[in-house]
Amino acid sequence: MTTAVEKVNRRDAKLALAHLFVAFTALALGGFAGLLQTLVRSGKFELPAGISYYTILTTHGVLLGLVLTTFFIIGFQFAAVSRTTGTLSDGSRRTGWVGFWLMTIGTAMSAFFILTGKASVLYTFYAPLQAHAGFYIGLALVVVGSWVSGFAMFTHYARWRKAHRGQVSPLLAFMSVTNMVLWLVCTLGVAATVVFQLIPWSLGLTDRVNVLLSRTLFWYFGHPLVYFWLLPAYMVWYAVIPKVIGGKMFSDSLARLAFILFLLFSIPVGFHHQLLEPGISPFWKYVQVVLTFMVIIPSLMTAFAMFATFESYGRSQGATGLFGWLRKLPWSDARFFAPFVGMLFFIPAGTGGIINASHQLNQVVHNTIWVTGHFHLTVATTVVLTFFGASYWLIPHLTGRVMTKAMNRLAIIQTIVWAVGMTFMSGSMHFAGLLGAPRRSAFSTYGNSPQALEWIPYQIAQAVGGTILFIGIILILVIVINLAFFAPKGETEFPIAEAAAPYERAALALENWKLWIGLVVALILIAYTVPIIDIIQNAPPGSKGYKLW
């Protein structure tokens, strides 16, 4: 049995770094596609060589929503597990590499079919839009690869627990395992629709597809996907940021309880994405909306814990007054500044989420570009800025380098550029959405209808924001390449915070996985069994596939 070390083992570091490289490559390509999209939607630019808007839209969504996030998260979690529970065994590491290659081959396969125009079905790949089978097979490989990596983490964690009976596991390892359990359970839905519905249908083995069932299985996965993105950001907020600022974690137990609540309540809630979908009974939509609102509890617990961490630190440094503690925070340290800005953006992001999930309010914003603005705040600002902030210590830690002052300054500038660009882009998306501008669609004046003409200034603002954000992408790539290959050699800390109360010991019940997974399964069965039986039994004739691009 290996023991915990301060530094991630060199071989484990290689595995984590491989994931991060794919993630940042996806950011470069997907970010460029995003820039092109906002330019096209401004109405002032047309794509050359007959390239379809929907091809670049799919490229953007898949590369950033699915590839950047999944690769970064798994790489980060391998590093976190190795750092807190000791070097991976050779078997676990090998399994991790198998997972990595499955995911990479799957990504390359899907990307090939998207870029050759055979899979312009957007990242939600809603039937009856039909992509080439290779696109779905590639996605299935990505999911299977992530499961393999998840099992590598589970076995490593189980080994640690066996060797440390009666002890509470390190917080970051507990959180990584919780996130992978969440991922494993929720990806069963998307795997089911891809393997049993979409692949046979795209290969011509079946003629028709049950559209509502495939969308329901997608959203069974699609909402917890958001939490799969968010929880690693919360890991950084809870377990790393307090150390970065020089303070203590407000409460270890609160952090663990929040993660368990996310695990329980983020899966049986997919219907709040389908509130305007005919074919699902209002009662079951109501049940899932109630469960959705339960997720607000751990989100607000997290907000409270963050404020409390910052205030406790500020006051320990002599801060006075109601908000004097804000002045004591290390604003010039990019490892803190980038995630902090991410946290600030989560206030409107979370609020927008509550609006989306409220049935009546959903009718105002459903399928409008408000929703696009919303998830560009959640994943593309809160999550991504936290990932950038984590990269500023994680990459040099793994490569045996140190971040220079110049790079730190550039990282501060990068954060500001991102915040400004996103304020323009996401802000105008929100307002245009309230005026009825649709999401997902290319530029059109809809026959010069007065309502559509109202949206154009907002679409130009989106292009301005998108251009600023692309500058932000160039800056982060410069920083990442520097930290990986050119920064001075040295030792960088992998910061892990201690709890404010040293006597605090989290309840072992929080690691009773049989109990929590049992409850997860029970909640899913309650929320989904009856409506899914109904969707299958009372299905209209299925739909043929359409290729509308």
């Binding site: 500020g314 609006i355 105002v364």
Partner: protein, 48 residues
Amino acid sequence: MAKPTTAVRQTKKDEEPALKGTLASVFLLGFFIIFAWVSVYFLFLHRL
């Protein structure tokens, strides 16, 4: 035995962090959520 207990209580009380700013922050956050939610709700009512 009353004295030490009081002393312990006193120490514990002193150790409680002052979190007035946190309280104010979470209230501000709550007000923002309510304001935004109600604004869109009125938009919904207006369009009925």
